[in-house]
Amino acid sequence: MSPTQFDMMVLVLGVFGILLVASFVGQILERRLSPDGSNPAIENLNARINAWWVMAILIAIAFIAGRIGVLLLFGFCSFAALREFVTLTNTRRADHWALATAFFVVLPLQYVLLWIEDYEIFSVFIPVYAFLLMPIISAVRGDTQHFLVRIAEVQWALMICVFCASHVPALLTLHIPGYEGRNVLLIAFLVIVVQLSDVLQYVWGKMIGRTKIAPRLSPSKTVEGFLGGVVSASLIGAGLWWITPFSPVQAGAMAFLITLMGFFGGLVMSAIKRDRGVKDWGHLIDGHGGLIDRLDSVVFSAPIFFHLTHYFWSQP
């Protein structure tokens, strides 16, 4: 077994161990407090834990399948997220071909560019080519009503769901001296820190949360939950330095940045949901709402994490 495989196994066993404990606690809570399924908080908790299992298993399978598995998994995530996002936008008949292009040309091409590891084009394909092409396609149909709004919405959908999300598997394309063949662990680091930070913010908020941070956007987010979540997730991130190319201090700083971006990502995506008058982005994951509800913090932190690592650690 190579050191990478060994580290991966330790990580997988760790995650599954935590989930086992969570499932155990969830079952006990259900028996004690909600034997007839009457307590919605506990029902939701258990639905979430089950969904975590599915997600952890899917990610583990993708990792075992290698580069193609990771690309397919995140390609599907981008597709499902884009579907949720576009469902809530103000598109009109005239945008039909622009949308078809977004789904069936831009999205697959972005992942093909990752497959061939062409960073030069990958990094500009959506913000330059797609962003100029989409309004052209829509304009050709001649419908000018709310043109800017429609274009902006489709572009932002692509930005969030395809461009930003694809920066998670893009971590595989980095060439870091002394870290060859271990890039998949960078994805694990990012995903674990982001998701733990979400959970820890929730837990700290429930325990000592008093001061609401943005009551109009997200009534459940508190200053105490935010600080507690950020600090504890950063510490856990520092403790995971052994799977990264970073030193413990650097890993902690990266984790701090990831959790910060993740928090604000959640805030921005809630603002969109409030504007559209919906509670969740969709219904793909039982107990979590839509895929974007789970992915919002990842998509905001992934590009920043990717670029900092690329800038400071990677070599061409």
Partner: protein
């Protein structure tokens, strides 16, 4: 032979519809419809009945037959195969001339054999700006002749955005299928009153303000 191909085709259509729309049902009070039901729905796309068909659990799906226009579904061999063999549609003649069988009669036959129906009381696809056109009288006659069947209003949301008329590439968007409270013809209720009540019940299931409408304002 045909039925051997029809089964897999049905499965493929089902998977395709799910992949594009991630369709989700909302049942009335969270329970499944009765075995003897007439589902009446808004009609904006050729795929409407497929979404209702897709969300019904298999044991109900096997017994449900969509009611469709013979003029459309018999136009080509492929359509005929899909309409008749894959979905087992009750094909009715919409033009009064050249009718060999009364539509209500054909539907009644299917109901006597124990089938549920999917019906579009607007008669044809709605391409107007109104969310729901006026109803044809068929629903009333069926309600009067078959009081043992529950009439279930069903609102299909978003499918018209997935595939607007004249386009052939579907846009993946999330669709929902909302089932309303089952209704019956009341004692002494007249045709117009009943049709208006049924239309109101269906309209009440429509999302209050769809994203697309907001921009039109």
């Amino acid at each position: 032979m045909k039925s051997l191909i029809a089964r897999p085709v049905a499965v493929i259509v089902l998977l395709f519809a799910r992949a594009i729309t991630a369709v989700r049902p909302f049942w009335y009070e969270g329970r499944l419809p009765r075995r003897r039901s007439i589902f009446f729905a808004n009609h904006s796309s050729h795929g409407d009945f497929i979404l209702i068909w897709a969300v019904l659990p298999p044991r109900l799906r096997r017994r449900v037959r969509p009611v469709a226009g013979a003029d459309y579904w018999l136009k080509s061999k492929v359509r005929g195969f899909i309409g008749r063999d894959v979905f087992n549609a009750v094909l009715i003649e919409r033009n009064r001339e050249g009718r060999t069988m009364d539509p209500v009669e054909s539907m009644g036959e299917a109901m006597k054999e124990g089938s549920s129906l999917i019906l579009f009381p607007e008669g044809t696809r709605n391409q107007s700006d109104a969310s729901l056109q006026s109803f044809k009288s068929g629903l009333f006659h069926l309600a009067a002749l078959h009081p043992d069947f529950e009439l279930v209003p069903v609102w299909i949301a978003n499918l018209n955005r997935v595939m607007p008329k004249g386009e052939f590439v579907p846009i993946p968007l999330i669709c929902t299928v909302t089932f309303g409270e089952p209704m019956h013809l009341a004692d002494g209720e007249g045709k117009d009153a009943f049709l208006e009540r049924a239309r109101g019940a269906l309209l009440a299931l429509a999302p209050k303000k769809a994203a697309a409408e907001r921009v039109e304002e």
